[in-house]
């Protein structure tokens, strides 16, 4: 089989990738979880382009979620958790936006959202779950009835049925599949033929990509096809599921990427401080989003020393001893 450059037509800048695959009103999902492997270079680009009315479908994509909501890009949200671990028990701009009625929220759980992505990946219209029976997660919907039937919004939030294989008291929650327009994930490596390798937890990234109509992968580095083919057990996505590949070193900052860098407590704490105040938040967006021309410029603003501090130890995969308070 001849070697061929499988990245032909796929390798592009983050601007081009967002331009081509993310539009006002798109239903999108992002990879990662709270402070890990969020595709932040793509998220900042979406915010910079002031894309709006997104329907973000998320489990717990904390930092990406909060920036997209805080920048006013999101109108609808299927979500399990709007938090960022110890850095923000509730994501701050998310909280304000919901309290102000700026976003419509449909609450699910992490298991439900990952199963909804799985159903989309399997090509089935729904998937059963035993979570949430008798709770308001199942009983109450945040989306108004008039949205039902619109693209990307199921006719019911969930449907509770009696298990047709079971007995009395065997209720099951049916969760509607998710099939977003586009998934954006950040990976450690993409090969020259478009295969994706993720190290560490994959969260629901793989289910998301398989369920989506298009996939953008930002990555720390491009590596030779032969290198990833030497240990195919470690690879996460095949070339035929990847539409755009973007080289974005530190592209998940301020969230962590195993074996490359830890999360950045300095920036996360700064973010937390300014997010609490509307004026300071507007200034943050000017300074870090609209006023930054490129991801390189963003990294220059973070500064070399801080990137050195958070660099991952080769064996541990994070930055041992990093001051995380």
């Amino acid at each position: 089989m001849a070697e061929h450059n499988g990245l032909d037509g796929k390798l592009m800048s983050i601007g081009e990738a967002v331009e081509r695959f993310v539009a006002d009103g798109s239903q999108i999902c992002v990879g990662g979880f709270t402070i890990n492997r969020n595709p932040m270079a793509a998220v900042y680009e979406i915010a910079r382009r002031r894309i709006k009315d997104l329907h973000l479908v998320a489990h717990s994509n904390g930092q990406a979620l909060d920036l997209l909501v805080g920048a006013g890009c999101v109108r609808r949200l299927d979500i399990a958790y709007g938090g960022n671990g110890r850095f923000a028990p509730t994501c701050i701009r998310f909280r304000k936006a919901v309290e102000r009625g700026e976003v419509l929220v449909e609450d699910y759980t992490n298991n439900m959202m990952s199963l909804r992505f799985l159903a989309g990946a399997l090509g089935v219209p729904f998937i059963p779950s035993k979570s949430g029976l008798g709770t308001d997660v199942v009983e109450r919907s945040g989306f108004p009835p008039e949205l039902r039937g619109e693209k990307g919004i199921p006719c019911e939030k969930v449907i509770v049925i009696d298990d047709p294989f079971g007995h009395a008291d065997d209720e099951v929650v049916l969760l509607p599949a998710l099939t977003p327009d586009v998934s954006i994930i950040h990976a450690q490596q993409v090969s020259t033929d478009g295969t994706v390798r993720i190290k560490g937890l994959t969260f629901a990234d793989l289910e998301q990509c398989k369920a989506s109509g298009a996939v953008i992968v930002t990555c720390e580095e491009i590596v030779p096809e032969d290198y990833l083919r030497l240990d195919p057990d470690q690879n996460a996505l095949p070339p035929f599921l990847v539409d755009a590949v973007v080289v974005a070193p530190y592209g998940a900052h301020p969230t962590a990427v195993r074996y490359f860098y830890d999360y950045d407590p300095v920036h996360l704490n700064h973010y937390k401080a300014v997010a609490k105040d509307d004026e300071q938040w507007a200034a943050y967006l000017e300074e870090w989003v609209y006023g930054v021309e490129s991801w390189d410029a963003y990294l220059d603003k973070i500064g070399g020393a801080q990137l050195a501090h958070i660099r991952a130890n080769t064996v541990a995969g994070y930055a041992p001893g990093l001051d995380r308070r």
Partner: protein, 274 residues
Amino acid sequence: MSKPQKSAAGGAAAAAPGAAAAPVYTPREMMAIAAGRFIKDGDVLFAGTGVAMLAATVAKRIHAPQAHIFFETGGIGPRLEELPMAVADPRVMAFSNLNAGLVEAFSYVANRRLHTIAFLGAAQIDRFGNMNSTVIGDYLHPKVRFSGSGGACDAGSLASGFIVFMQHGVQKFVEKLDYLTTPGWLTGGDSRQHAGYRRGGPIAVVTNLCVLKFDEVTHEMYLAERYEGVTPEHIQENTGFPLDVSRATVAEPPDAEELRILRDEVDPQRLILG
């Protein structure tokens, strides 16, 4: 790194010295130790961040070495040489048994063969251990929005049981939840089973004042152990529904070894102990 200066006595806000016996410890330390005592060797522990991580780690180092800690993100059995700041912290993927994803992690929560115990927190809890971590006020026009379920509803639904951490107060222990995020014993009695659950339910609520359990028949919350120096009246005053305090004993305080492991080995940076 600040030294602990107050005993467990006196509740969340007050720091009234009530316990005469050394060693001195904070309410948060007492909570971690009290919760850790519920963990049995061999348990499979679904941990979040915060005090839960301390409880699980201390228990594993003291009396439950064969307990397994895992995270909803897919980190299974990490060494935890440093404390994670979130369940997706790269520290939950380092030197672990295996790294997976959410679908797999929740399959372990639900696995019928495993005795899975979850640690959860919430904004509100009712007398049957149902919890709210979604909103205060009207759901469609909330006064306060919280994070939402995350994996809490799932763990409450699927695990063999769960243990709750709460700060005591009438805003938190309420007659009626503003939103039922995580299923406890629902309306008590057999209602959980009739709703379609096969197992699980809250085992205990560990607060800064006391440990609460649930009656085996009615599944109503009652006071099981109050920390030394804390009165039943003080606990009732901070609880928004009537509490059976007749069965309460005084909790065993942490011993020196428990405190040493907690402070020196588990959280030397005092990331969670504060």
